[in-house]
Symmetry: C2
Subunit: 408 residues, 2 copies
């Protein structure tokens, strides 16, 4: 057991308060209806290309011969190649405002680490990033990117932390997981008062920052495409892949009220069969890390001991679904479906061959889910609006596409 779980050690709430900028802790418990985006954050988001395009996938529609209208929210065009940059910039701002000088975090497939590395540089901060070992080995380019920005990148489990050393003692060739990396990062940040721990997903403040996704989608559907959402009897869908849940919650968050008020709107989470929490997990209390730094939370879980098989979908390999995503699922507000990596990559290839857009394997799960929704809609002669969150670019995932689809 690591020291901090001993009697007299800080509670999870105390840990959170110590490692996080105060503004983020306040956002986690806020009951305000709206929280303003600070002007320097808005300015950087604009510089990075926000609002990102909402792309009508007409060629995919034509290929499928469907009456559905499919839209892609193109987060892949952001400089780091994923939606993660939205919250990284916000969190780095609050950390810098509070005088913290180092950003510490974990990363799975590397998108979050790239975003933190860039956000740190934009505010003149240092970055220490613990990256899931098997992803680090599969995706050296993402490590190079972070290092070019001046970030320090460590494999997780890490010999630099007590929890990392303990895990490596038990399982020397442990491939790492988001659980091990979260534990490494939190322990590392706890010991350094000048450090701020940044969460890539799972937390209310992250979901808050990502709600600009759903807000932009609503505006763009209305103003650019002249499209209403949630029309009765049409079966409109908002679809995102779900790992920590932030691209999903960011997309659907601003539309929860409309659905509660009766809009005909479905929310669909696409997960990986490598970590099928929402589709096969148990709804119970558990921890999201392995070190015991985070509070036990109620959610769909595969258990703390679950080690997902190494695959090319690092962003969807969590063992425990976040409380908010789990609650939405438990209450029936959110549907969920799981895909294996080949199906997701094949959906990604279809999108490349029709629309010319190469998305990350994680986003391929959302595309696969959309294809299923289209097939069902066509079978019932419905013509829904389907919004798919294109959460990230696949240019740095070509090795994965190659291994699964070409090298066979």
């Amino acid at each position: 057991m690591p020291e901090v779980r001993d009697s007299g050690s800080p509670t999870a709430a105390e840990i959170s308060a110590r490692i996080r900028p105060r503004a983020l802790v306040e956002q986690n418990g806020s009951d305000q209806k709206r929280i303003a985006i600070p002007e320097p954050v808005t300015e950087l988001l604009r510089q990075c290309g926000r609002p990102t395009p909402l792309h009508r996938a007409r060629r995919l529609e034509k290929h499928l011969g469907t009456g559905a209208r499919i839209y892609l929210k193109r987060e892949d065009v952001l400089p780091t190649g994923s939606f993660k940059l939205n919250t990284a910039i916000a969190q780095a701002y609050y950390a810098a405002e509070e005088g913290r000088t180092t950003l510490v975090t974990e990363t799975g497939a590397g998108q979050w680490g790239m975003s933190v590395a860039l956000a740190a540089r934009m505010f003149g901060l240092r970055a220490e990033i613990f990256m899931v070992r098997c992803s680090l080995e599969q995706k050296p380019y993402r490590r190079h990117y972070m290092e070019l920005l001046g970030a320090e990148v460590q494999p997780s489990p890490s010999p630099r932390t007590a929890i990392g050393r303990k895990i490596l003692q038990d399982v020397p060739d442990h491939p790492g997981s988001l659980g091990t990396a979260i534990s490494d990062a939190i322990e590392y940040a706890l010991g350094r008062p000048s450090a701020a721990y940044l969460a890539g997903s799972g937390m209310p403040h992250v979901y808050l920052h990502q709600t600009l996704l759903g807000l932009e989608v609503a505006t763009q559907l209305r103003e650019i495409h002249g499209e209403a959402l949630g029309v009765e009897g049409r079966g409109d869908h908002l679809i995102a892949c779900s790992g920590g849940g932030s691209n999903l919650c960011g997309l659907i968050g601003p539309h929860l009220r409309a659905k509660a008020d009766g809009a005909d709107l479905r929310f669909l989470a696409a997960e990986s069969t490598a970590a099928p929490r929402l589709t096969k997990g148990v709804y119970e209390y558990g921890r999201t890390d392995l070190g015991g730094f985070t509070p036990e939370v109620l959610g769909y879980t595969l258990g703390e001991d679950f080690i997902p098989p190494p695959n090319h979908v690092g962003g969807l390999r969590n063992h425990h679904s976040s409380p908010l995503v789990s609650l939405l699922r438990h209450k029936g507000v959110l549907d969920a479906v799981a895909f294996d990596q080949r199906t997701a990559l094949e959906a990604g290839r279809l999108l490349l061959r029709t629309e010319g857009l190469l998305l990350a394997p994680e986003a391929g799960h959302a595309v696969a889910a959309a294809l299923d929704v289209v097939a069902k809609a066509d079978a019932h002669a419905l013509e829904p609006v389907i919004v798919v969150l294109a959460s990230g670019s696949g240019l740095l995932d070509l090795q994965g596409y190659n291994e699964v689809l070409l090298d066979t």
Copy 2:
């Protein structure tokens, strides 16, 4: 000598007419002031994200402490990650219109091949791509991308052509060059009437298609940024890297008349010290391929036997500069400067650390040139407008950045 150079073999003009769609041959010799873009081409260009952003690099300006206003024309956001897609779509359209079913081409660093692979897929055509061997080995991801789209990718020199077999007989470990790859592709296309050969650069029709770069820049400077270009005494600059010359000519083409009419406007070509044609070459007649398929053209050349050293700047490794670029240089309309790859990649890293944009090493040469222009302008207390063509994304060049800047 390959067979087609024997007595009685077709002339270079006959070869060009045979392998190219007729519309492109006509464009090469057109004396029209304007040539309309076909509607299907416009539609696809829009779908791919045109007009691309003209980004004011305020954070770079601040870092440099300069009064110059630096703009980046962001071709890196196109789906294939480079400006090459602009002409690939146009050429594929004309080939399809003429009933040709296969697109054949060469590619250096791979950006052109990616663009042809995507354009072929968009028009339902096959693609056969000869890729410079050393680039293919350095950049497997670009090969994966082309193959995902269904393109056939061959290393050049290729055992599938007579010229390729001859080169391999003489130099079995020949790293390949744009010269070998052009020869492979043209020979391959010549033998197949259903095939169209697509040129990635160097030809008037390619420059024509790329003039949308300079046209968009002019409109965006005026309408979005309220900026005039060529103001007397300010020393405004248009800067692009120069390999085959198409991003350069596309950028400056629409501004040639203004300069001839007296606008204070400088055009600057940034080349690689690995192939310093404009800065160290001789102005004389020569061939751009090794097979003798292309006509002898007047240009700055390093000689047909020049084999550039393998480096990470595949797009700038030609041995012979195009007639138009060379003429502009010879007449003093165009300035030129050469950079080694480390300097170019360091400029690229600076842009990443300030603006958050990771450009291809080729574009890094243009950024390096801009840094020099800024330094000189600052020394003379000038505050020019500087437009840099961000010709491509560097996400697939991270291995090169890593080897040159990090692994040392």
